[in-house]
Subunit: 325 residues, 2 copies
C-alpha cells in the first residue's frame, strides 16, 4: 500500500491521516498550525517538522501527497511540491476542483495529479474535530479531465476507498457546478436566512423551531472556511446564485400578484422527491474494465448518472448505479 | 379542567386531542377526513359524527373549541361555531394569527377568542402522524391584541401548558412577522434550494450530503399544507422575502464585483450565534400577577424579549426570560 503524506492537518486533513493509517498505510503529515501539530503528535501521529521535510520523505518513499489546506494556501504548497517532490502522485481535499487544477498545471505540472473532494464534514474545524471514521460510507469525488492519467486517478481513488468512502468520478467543471448547487449555495442561503431571522428580534429567535435550526445549522461554520470554499468556486456559485435569485424573485412576484406560491412549492416538493428517490433507489452493480483506453471517460459517465465506484483492483472497478425504472 | 373540542384531526389537531386527554381533560373532535376519523376512533378517541354535533356538545359542556384545520377551511368552521356555540371559548392552531383573527371578528364576534400556534411539527401529516408528546417542552404562541379578554387568553394558554408546552405571549402582527421569518421563509428557501439542486442533475443529487438534506428537509412537506401556511401569511412573508432577496442580491453583487462574501458570511455567522446564545442563555424566573389591568400587555412585552410562560394559576403566571448579560 502506497504511503500517504498529508499537508494540512485540520478537520479533513487530520481525518484523512487517521483513516489512511487505520487502513494499514504508512502516513505522516505537516501543518503550519502549532496547535494541530501538537494535538496530532500527542495522539501518536507522525508530524514532520516542516512541509519541506514531509515532501522530501514523500519523494523518497514514493508516497501519495494529499493537499488538505484551504484554497488560499494551495499555491504555496504546490511551489514546495514542485521543488521537493516534482513527480509525486498528488491529490487534494480542498473541495473546489478547477482552481486547484489550474494551480497544479501552473506550479507543479510534472506531478501525477487527480483532484479529490470528500463529501463529509461538520461545522467544526481543526485536528481535534477530526476522526478516522469521518469518511465511512460517505461519498468522495475524484475528478479527471482529458489530461488526467489513469494511474493518477486510481491512486487518488484508492485512498478514498481505503478511507471508507465510495468514489464519485466527475469532470472538474461538472464537480464544481454540482457542489456550487448542493454545498456552496446552501451556505449562502443559510447565512441569509440566519440574518433575516435575527432581524426579527428576540421574539422571532425564541419561536425558531427545528426547521429553522436545521436550515441555519451551517451558518455556524467558521466564516474563514466558508469564505475560502464559496469564494474559491466563484464562477459556478454565481450561476447557482442566479438560479436561486430567479426562482426566489419569481416566488415573490407570484405571491405579490396572485397570492399563490403553487409553482415554487410544487417544484421544490418534486425536486425533494427526486433527491430522496435517488438516495433510496435500488442500485445495480457493474464491473468496468480499466485496461480499455476510455476507462476514465466511462467512469465519468457513471458519475454523471448518479453512480459511484465501490471497490477497485488493478484491472477493474466495481460500480453501483441507480437502477433504471 | 375545561373540556376540549378539536375541529380538524390532522397532525396538529390530532396531537392536541391526544395531549389534552393525556392531561386529564375530557376531549372530543370532529373531522371531514373519513380516514382521520376512522383512525382516531380506532385509537379510542371520541369523534363526533359532524362538526355541528361536536360544537353543540362544546356549547352544552362549556368546552374550549380548538380550530385545527388549514386556513382555507377556517371560515366554514367559524360559521358553524357562530351558529352552535356563539359564546364559546375559542382558540386555534392554524399557524397564522391576523387572518384568523379577522375571520373571527367577522364571522364569530361573540366568541371568547385568543389565537394560538404550537411551534411543533414534522414533515408528515394526518392523524396517524400525530402523538400526545408532540408539544412536550416545545413553544406555543398565544396571541392577544387590545381587544383580547384576559380570560380568553388564559383558557388558550392553559391548554398549551397542559399539552406540555411553554407559552410565548405575542401580538398577532408581531407573531405573523416573526413566523414569516423563521418558519415560512425557510419553506420557500427550502423549495428554491431543492429545485436549484435538482437542476444540477443526478451528479449534484448524488453528491448532496447532510447539509443539503438538512436545508431541504421541509421541502418534503405536503405542498397543500405549505401553500395554506405561506400564502395565508402573505403580507408578512412578502416583507421577509424582500429582506432575503435584498441580502441574496447583495451577496451576488459582492461576489461578482469583488469576489468577496465576507459581509454575508459574517452576518449569518453572528446571527446564528445570537440564535444559539438565546437558546442556551441562563434564564431568570419572574412571577407576573394577573389581576392587574395591564397583565396581557406585560406578558406580550415578555414575549418580545424572548421570554415565555412556564406555568399558570388563577392569580399569576410564572415566566422565564433570557438573563441580562
Amino acid at each position: 500500500m502506497r504511503a500517504v503524506c498529508v499537508i494540512g492537518l485540520g478537520l479533513i486533513g487530520g481525518s484523512v491521516l487517521r483513516a489512511a493509517v487505520r487502513s494499514g498505510r504508512t502516513g505522516w503529515g505537516a501543518t503550519t498550525s502549532e496547535e494541530d501539530a501538537a494535538a496530532a503528535r500527542a495522539a501518536g501521529y507522525d508530524v514532520a517538522p516542516s512541509t519541506e521535510e514531509a515532501l522530501r520523505r514523500a519523494a523518497e518513499q514514493e508516497a501519495l501527497v494529499v493537499i488538505a489546506t484551504p484554497l488560499p494556501a494551495v499555491g504555496g504548497v504546490l511551489r514546495r511540491v514542485a521543488r521537493h517532490a516534482p513527480e509525486t502522485y498528488l491529490t487534494d481535499v480542498v473541495g473546489v476542483q478547477e482552481p486547484v487544477r489550474e494551480l497544479v498545471r501552473e506550479l507543479a505540472p510534472t506531478t501525477r495529479y487527480a483532484g479529490g473532494h470528500p463529501m463529509s464534514g461538520t461545522a467544526d474545524s481543526g485536528w481535534s474535530a477530526g476522526q478516522a471514521e469521518l469518511f465511512d460510507r460517505a461519498l468522495w469525488a475524484v475528478t479527471a479531465d482529458e489530461g488526467t492519467r489513469l494511474d493518477s486517478w486510481l491512486e487518488a481513488a484508492a485512498l478514498a476507498v481505503d478511507c471508507g468512502s465510495r468514489v464519485v468520478p466527475a469532470g472538474p467543471g461538472e464537480h464544481d457546478a454540482a457542489v456550487a448547487r448542493i454545498s456552496h449555495l446552501p451556505h449562502v442561503l443559510s447565512a441569509v436566512l440566519a440574518s433575516v431571522g435575527a432581524d426579527g428580534g428576540p421574539l422571532a429567535l425564541s419561536l425558531a423551531a427545528g426547521s429553522f435550526r436545521d436550515a441555519t445549522r451551517v451558518a455556524g461554520t467558521d466564516p474563514e472556511l466558508v469564505r475560502a470554499m464559496t469564494e474559491g468556486n466563484r464562477a459556478a456559485l454565481l450561476d447557482a446564485l442566479d438560479d436561486a435569485l430567479g426562482r426566489l424573485g419569481a416566488a415573490r412576484g407570484s405571491l405579490a400578484s396572485t397570492g399563490s406560491l403553487n409553482s415554487t412549492v410544487r417544484s421544490g416538493h418534486e425536486a425533494n422527491g427526486n433527491l430522496r428517490e435517488q438516495h433510496t433507489a435500488e442500485r445495480v452493480s457493474r464491473t468496468v474494465p480499466l485496461n480499455a483506453g476510455h476507462a476514465l471517460r466511462r467512469l465519468r459517465e457513471i458519475g454523471e448518472q448518479g453512480g459511484c465506484v465501490v471497490s477497485l483492483d488493478s484491472e477493474s472497478a466495481t460500480v453501483e448505479l441507480p437502477a433504471p425504472e
